[in-house]
Amino acid sequence: MDRTDMEKTLENRDLMARFSFAARFGLPRTIIAGFVLLLFIMAPIVGADLTMQIGNVINRFSWNAVLVLAMVPMIHSGCSLNFGIPLGIIAGLLGGTLSIQLGFTGPVSFFMAILLATPFALLAGGGYGWLLNRIKGGEMMIATYVGLSSIAFMCMMWLLLPYTSPTMVWGLAGKGLRTTISLTGFYEKALANFLAIPIDPANGLYFPTGTILFFAVLALAVWAFFRTKTGTAMTAVGSNPLFARASGINVDRMRLLSVVMSTWLGAVGILVYQQGFGFMQLYMAPNNMTLPTVAAILIGGAAVNKASIAHVIIGTILYQSVVTLTPTVMTAMIHMDVSEVVRIIISNGMILYALTRKVKGGSK
């Protein structure tokens, strides 16, 4: 039994070595990339409009990329996957609702929303970071439940806070925010419309230059930050906290800073998502953002303790391709809408793979 197992392992290793691309790229990532490639090949065959599909993937990428970017600082500083991203999202929602409540409209309301969300993000991130410093080693589980309980707490708050803007509150009662708020006239496509390039104007498909640029600026800022002295110190804390402490780095402060950064990026991320999507979703909705975000960066090749900007970009493109293409292609192929099931299995399977991985460190 043991021998056959060993032979099998050796054989597998041989296979892995032979397909060195797969080995370097990470097996699940290769499988998912292959799956996406297959979807793209199948799309024209089953009669789907490839231009439109690609356009959709680009648009969805632009909505989600900043949220996925919010994972990076915390992974770098060793706080592992940020399952507490709902906290940042809530800060973003507060910023967005306040911006509308205060009467800002058009693209201005988007930047006001970011500005108004910032204090909440700093506050929430600070508290969250302080908490995570007290429970080192158990971050992921606690982050998940901090996220869930803050969502449930805000559910009560959305009903009780004295918002009055007629576009946001329930028409009949005159109080309590609606579950979905349309952003038309506020910051819908605030970024996307900037220098938009038409792909398929008949179907309302544009290349969201502004959003991509916005993401590029933020990604560049994060990239540059990790090359500053503070950024290097943060990476050191993540890769070896004992060594970092020995070389005089304040470990707790670095971790706190990374959590605040992640939370703020989460707040900005949800606002970017909303401006693309055109709606603001309250109540239990932030809960649905955690899984896709975490899964995306893991598909990109990140590990529980290693992530880069490249992982963000590759991961978001792959994940969003799966989400966009499976419904059309799979439905056309087997006449069953299995897309939801595929999405659930891929995203959770990816997280499980990352959690049960023995080897530390991600792929290159």
Binding site: F83, L131, R134, I135, K136, G137, G138, M140, M141, I142, T144, Y145, V146, L148, S149, A152, F153, C155, M156, L159, L160, G176, L291, M336, V338, E340, V341, I344, I345, N348, G349, I351, L352, L355, T356, K358
Partner: protein
């Protein structure tokens, strides 16, 4: 032994250890007059909910004993129970035989899922809870694949009443009308307007006895040893991985039974989300009863089910009385169940760190002493 007795006598310590149950007693006492329910209604509801939920909560005890923390993967057992119920409903076997058959059918499915879950958790030692949490999500996807797409073409389903109009997959609600409360009504007695499902409580009692007995067996002792220290247990010749898998399999099978008891009481179930919140609510209830991530007793389970469900009954009505909005109470109880788990997890982690630093401190002291002696 001495230290233990001392701890029991110390009122401050006692208060600290029982802070969560006490907080819930206070919440319930505040809500009680505001909700304005009659005592007989309350008692009736409470007894029903105890019969419905206790078995599920008890299924969490064994993984805690084996040092694997709160088993969020109990959802897997719930799914196994649901699949068994769907099949039994299709075979048109109703009443008590149906329930018993469903339990029997659920066993192999639960064992399969439990072995899968246990193997995954063995690969993720030290982060069992978050892994089991995501296993339950992952399996939810697989469950949907099986029930929504495979039932019909691959797994034969005879009756059209169960199937979606398109010819495959199960409808959003499965009716168990002919099974409804059969277990609860058999041997039920009525005390002052309160229906007591004696048989259900007897089954729960038997499970309690089994758990107490199991703790004393060789396997039970092994599990405790594994919980104490995996390395030491391995050196003592215990197959750690196997012991842990058995703990999870037992929990999954029990959760499957628990889910069948739960659903026969309700009389129908939403096929695709009956199991989604079961894990959270069961775990929250156990924690409310004063359990922690590493220690839980049968008493915790019973106290928890009473306090947690008391809050569950009272919260919506109280919320409506205070704010005039029934949703507030709904959100409040969701918030409380998540909040309790959050607090318990934080307490567990801080305690773990405290003990670690204390051991470090003691070691340093011992070393210093030795050095001085050497001088």
């Amino acid at each position: 032994m001495m230290r233990k007795e001392h701890a029991k006598l110390n009122p401050k310590r006692l208060l600290q250890d029982n802070s969560v149950p006490l907080m819930f007693v206070v919440i319930c006492l505040i809500c009680l007059p505001l909700a304005g329910y009659s005592p007989s209604y309350l008692l009736n509801e409470l007894v029903t909910r105890m019969g419905r939920n206790t078995f599920l909560i008890l299924s969490l005890l064994i993984p805690i004993m084996a040092g694997m923390g709160l088993n969020f993967g109990m959802t897997l057992g719930a799914m196994a129970g649901e699949i068994a119920l769907i099949l039994v409903a299709d075979w048109q076997i109703w009443g008590i035989p149906g329930i018993v058959l469903a339990m029997i059918v659920s066993i192999p499915i639960s064992i399969l899922l439990g072995v899968f879950c246990g193997n995954m958790l063995n690969k993720a030692k030290g982060r069992e809870m978050i892994t089991s949490y995501f296993i339950s999500f992952f399996m939810n996807g697989v469950y949907q694949l099986v029930v929504l797409f495979m039932m019909g073409p691959i797994i034969p389903i005879m009756h059209a009443t169960l199937k979606l109009p398109r010819g495959y997959g199960i409808r959003n609600t499965v009716s168990l009308l002919n099974m409804r409360q059969q277990l609860d009504n058999l041997l039920a007695i009525n005390v002052g307007g309160v229906k007591i499902p004696v048989l259900t409580f007897l089954i729960i009692g038997v499970l309690c006895l089994v758990i107490i007995w199991f703790r004393r067996t060789k396997l039970g002792q092994d599990m405790r040893a594994v919980a104490q220290d995996m390395e030491v247990a391995r050196d003592a010749g215990i197959n750690v991985d196997r012991t842990r898998i058995i703990a999870i399999v037992m929990s999954t099978v029990m959760a499957g039974f628990g889910m069948i008891i739960y659903l026969q009481n309700l009389g129908n179930f939403p096929t695709y989300n009956a199991h989604v919140q079961i894990g959270t609510f069961s775990i929250a209830a156990l924690l409310v009863g004063g359990a922690s991530v590493e220690k839980a007793s049968i008493g915790n389970a019973f106290l928890g089910v009473i306090l947690f469900h008391m809050m569950f009954i009272l919260a919506p009505e109280t919320g409506t009385t205070i704010t005039g909005d029934s949703m507030i109470g709904e959100y409040f109880r969701t918030f409380v169940s998540y909040g309790v788990i959050t607090v318990a997890l934080i307490m567990y982690e801080t305690k773990k760190r405290m003990i670690k630093s204390q051991t470090g401190h003691l070691l340093a002291l011992a070393q210093k002493e030795e050095e001085e002696r050497a001088k």
